[in-house]
């Protein structure tokens, strides 16, 4: 009997340890696993390395985790947001380090980590400041950079629907980094609105197969960052 459900976000993130690397899904607020992140704030793990496309908005979700001074490094493609000063302040202060990675290279490094590909050559960022210090090699007369696969101790991901085996479906453009991150983390934790029995999902339409998912948690009505911010919410 395979059942990957956990009863609460708190239990799902209970074993995140100080110094852990944590992939956090989402592109802007779409796909941001707000409830899992808030549970991680409550849980208290610190000195985290967060791998995520952005650094959050306002003072909820990922921005709130940063604000709580739990994150000492972010690996990220776009850490600026129109409505948050959390990351810029921590960065300028020197508390949180930034590894800036082009978005496609970030996605591919995560996918490579999940696929057992140690490193790969990409033409992106050749001859730019983000290529500096990296190995350059020509293939078919074109310069490429060597980039390394990324893995993490944990991934926090937001889906729409899952089954007890951990098969996951997503909602529209909230899919974004979820599938590659699920592959790349040793412990992948997914919040979804509803969890059904194995066999209820169409096996042809599953986006993340259960083998990539260790834990699923039902959060029936997940919050959107923009709604929380509009309501003046800060966390905790």
């Amino acid at each position: 009997m395979i059942d990957k459900r956990l009863p609460s976000a708190a239990e799902a993130v209970a074993d995140v340890f100080d110094g852990a690397s944590v992939m956090v899904g989402g592109f802007g607020e779409a796909g941001s696993p707000v409830e899992l992140i808030h549970a991680l704030i409550d849980q208290g793990a610190k000195d985290l390395t967060v791998i995520s496309n952005n650094t959050g908005s306002g003072e909820v979700g990922l921005a709130a985790l940063l604000k709580a001074r739990r994150v000492t490094k972010v690996v990220c493609s776009f850490p600026r947001t129109a409505n948050s000063t959390v990351f810029p302040e921590l960065y300028r202060e020197g508390f949180t380090e930034l590894e800036l990675v082009p978005q496609g290279t970030l996605a591919e490094r995560i996918r490579a980590g999940g696929a057992g590909v140690a490193a790969f050559y990409t033409p992106t960022a050749v001859g730019t400041p983000l290529g500096e210090g990296k190995e350059v090699r020509e293939f078919d007369g074109r310069a490429h950079l060597l980039e390394h696969g990324l893995t993490a101790d944990f991934a926090l991901i937001k889906g729409r629907l899952a089954d007890t085996h951990g098969n996951v479906l997503y909602n529209k453009t909230a899919r974004n980094f979820g599938p590659p991150m699920a592959m790349a983390a040793r412990t992948t934790i997914v919040q979804v609105e509803r969890i059904v029995e194995a066999g209820e999902l169409d096996p042809e339409a599953i986006v993340t197969p259960g083998i990539f998912v260790e834990r699923v948690v039902a959060i029936a009505r997940p919050a959107h960052e923009s709604q929380l911010i509009a309501a003046g919410v800060t966390y905790p």
Partner: protein, 225 residues
């Protein structure tokens, strides 16, 4: 550029409209944030373009009517959009496989500077203390078949944006194919900048005066890409 009260130069909308004429029917297109997004409004009748947004959607449509949006259906600028018939959702690694693998026909981007050899700077002024952020720009210029830049010809402070070599940190080397400004359409050729078309009321002398590198005369055969 005063010209007896007649029009001189193109507005942002006219720049976008001029660019839209150069996109072939059936093209797969990624429009950057800002002026590039305007292009979608001016596609000539009879042509269907398929818009890609790097956060995981092909077949992106316009903004939803008020109240019809889904905060999880957004474009790369994080604005709510819609999905048209024939759309497909996919994850980020697949989305950038489309970009890096040369499957998109055209990327339209803004610019801080474009150099005469096609170098593009559009992600950072390199200012001390600024928070660097690159997004998908480096992937787009490295992977997409054709890269068009749409930008004002000069900065707000009157500096040329088309230059001999970029002073700002690069997004990519030798990647820009054509530039659409308020004054002209200019190709990045092997020989450097080459005029394709002047905006109404603008002279070649004016373009040259406002460009930081030589601009070659238009070829007789120059025109639609």
């Amino acid at each position: 550029m005063t010209n007896n009260g007649a029009q001189t130069g193109w507005s942002r909308e006219e720049m976008a409209k001029r660019l839209a004429q150069d996109i072939g029917d059936g093209s797969y297109v990624n429009l950057g944030i800002g002026i590039p997004e305007l292009v979608a409004k001016f596609v000539p009748d009879g042509r269907t373009l398929i818009y890609h947004t790097e956060n995981g959607l092909l077949g992106m449509g316009p903004s939803p009517a008020d109240g019809d949006g889904d905060p999880e259906l957004i474009n790369a600028g994080k604005r709510q959009v819609t999905a048209l018939p024939g759309a497909a959702y996919f994850h980020h690694a697949d989305s950038f496989a489309m970009i890096r693998g040369g499957h998109l026909d055209l990327s339209v981007l803004g610019a801080l500077q474009v150099a005469q050899n096609g170098d593009l700077a559009n992600w950072s002024t390199g200012e001390a203390g600024a928070i660097p952020a690159v997004g998908g720009a480096m992937d787009l210029v490295a992977g997409v078949k054709q890269v068009f830049v749409i930008t004002q010809h000069m900065t707000k402070s009157g500096e040329p944006k088309l230059v001999e070599s970029c002073a700002y940190p690069l997004t990519g080397r030798g990647v820009v194919d054509r530039v659409y400004t308020d004054l002209a359409v200019i190709d990045v050729s092997r020989e450097g900048f080459r005029l394709v078309e002047l905006a109404p009321g603008v002279t070649m002398e004016e373009v040259r005066a406002r460009t930081g590198a030589p601009v070659l005369e238009a070829r007789q055969s120059a025109g639609v890409a």
